[in-house]
């Protein structure tokens, strides 16, 4: 058997993937949000749609992440959160998040982002105050973790576009779903 390659560090991962111009990325995302607002008109609907889009992205993204990063199986949810914050965010957004505020059982934590490339130049107008601009990120995390058998719930706690000092999302592990086979072994 060939020797297993060791997992790469966040910076090495970021350097090894194809990158796109940050302004193009930011402006494209801004255009998507604007178009959703024009089409759906309701801020809540837009939030749901962004989350759904993120979910679809996340289910596909997790395979690419696991293939490129060579991480081994995580022992517990704490390790999963660290991997997402250090390697996952770094690989796809180019920024690292910090994991804080673990609860007593170790099933709920917060990712804090000081710097978020999705929101450069953005200022929320007064008509869209309920908009969760970065909701696609919560969908991505939910979708990715569901593909590796973890059902989670992600909510936004702090949002710089609303005047807070950082972006904070709370990720709560609801349950680990063991893989189900569609047939019984006895038959």
């Amino acid at each position: 058997m060939p020797p297993l390659t060791p997992p790469k560090s966040g910076d090495a991962l970021f350097a090894s993937v194809d990158r796109v111009n940050a302004e193009l990325f930011t402006l494209t995302y801004g255009a998507i949000v604007r178009q959703l607002l024009t089409d759906l008109e309701e801020v809540e609907e837009v939030n749901k749609q962004l989350d759904q889009m993120g979910y679809n992205i996340g289910t596909r993204l997790v395979d690419e992440f696991l293939a490129k990063s060579n991480v081994s199986r995580c022992v517990d949810f704490k390790e999963t959160a660290d991997v997402i914050a250090k390697l996952g965010f770094k690989m796809f957004l180019g920024v690292t998040a910090t994991v804080t505020k673990w609860d007593a059982e170790g099933t709920s934590c917060s990712f804090v982002l000081e710097d978020n490339p999705l929101v450069d130049f953005v200022e929320l107008p007064d008509t869209c105050q309920g908009l969760q601009y970065c909701n696609v990120l919560s969908g991505v995390i939910r979708g990715a973790l569901e593909m590796v058998s973890m059902k989670t719930e992600v909510t936004w706690v702090r949002d710089m576009l609303r005047g807070d000092d950082a972006y904070e999302m709370r990720v709560k592990l609801i349950k680990q779903v063991p893989e189900e086979y569609p047939y019984k072994d006895d038959d």
Binding site: L27, G30, A31, V122, E123, P125, C128
Partner: protein, 143 residues
């Protein structure tokens, strides 16, 4: 000291107008800005023969009145920045520097996906940045 800055769109529609002095002068300053638009149009439509001025963004002193000097700057999308100052000895380099920073702030404000091109600039952080640039304008000249 800068008393007024303005951003005017390519159809001569006002996009941003801010005075940095007492309110009763504000109307007069807006009037001065309006008149200077005519000067810009004249400069743009009758370019001087020499080639460098054809793609010059910094238009320079537009016209001096008894108290004020008006400087203009034209972007390649025909958006005009106008600056009214009471300083009697403004160095060319300072004015260019001011407009360069102002242009950078304008570009960031316009990159906001919620900004509608052609409508007024509603960004609060743009206003804050402009105030900072205006405050640092005078201090560059003092030794």
């Amino acid at each position: 000291m800068i008393v007024c800055v303005a951003v005017v769109g390519h159809q001569n529609n006002p996009l941003y107008l801010q005075s940095f002095t007492e309110a009763d002068d504000a109307l007069k300053l807006h009037h001065i800005v309006h008149c200077s638009l005519d000067v810009i149009d004249e400069r743009v439509n009758n370019p001087k023969r020499s080639a460098p001025t054809l793609n010059e963004t910094f238009l320079g002193l537009l016209y001096p009145t008894e108290n004020y000097k008006v400087y203009g700057y034209l972007t390649n999308t025909k958006v005009k920045f106008i600056m009214v100052t009471t300083d009697l000895d403004v160095k060319d380099a300072d004015a260019r520097n001011f407009f360069r920073k102002f242009h950078a702030a304008y570009v960031d404000a316009v990159s906001n996906p919620f900004h509608v091109p052609g409508k007024k600039i509603a960004s609060r952080s743009f206003g804050v940045r402009v105030s900072t640039i205006v405050k640092s304008f005078g201090s560059g000249t003092t030794g």
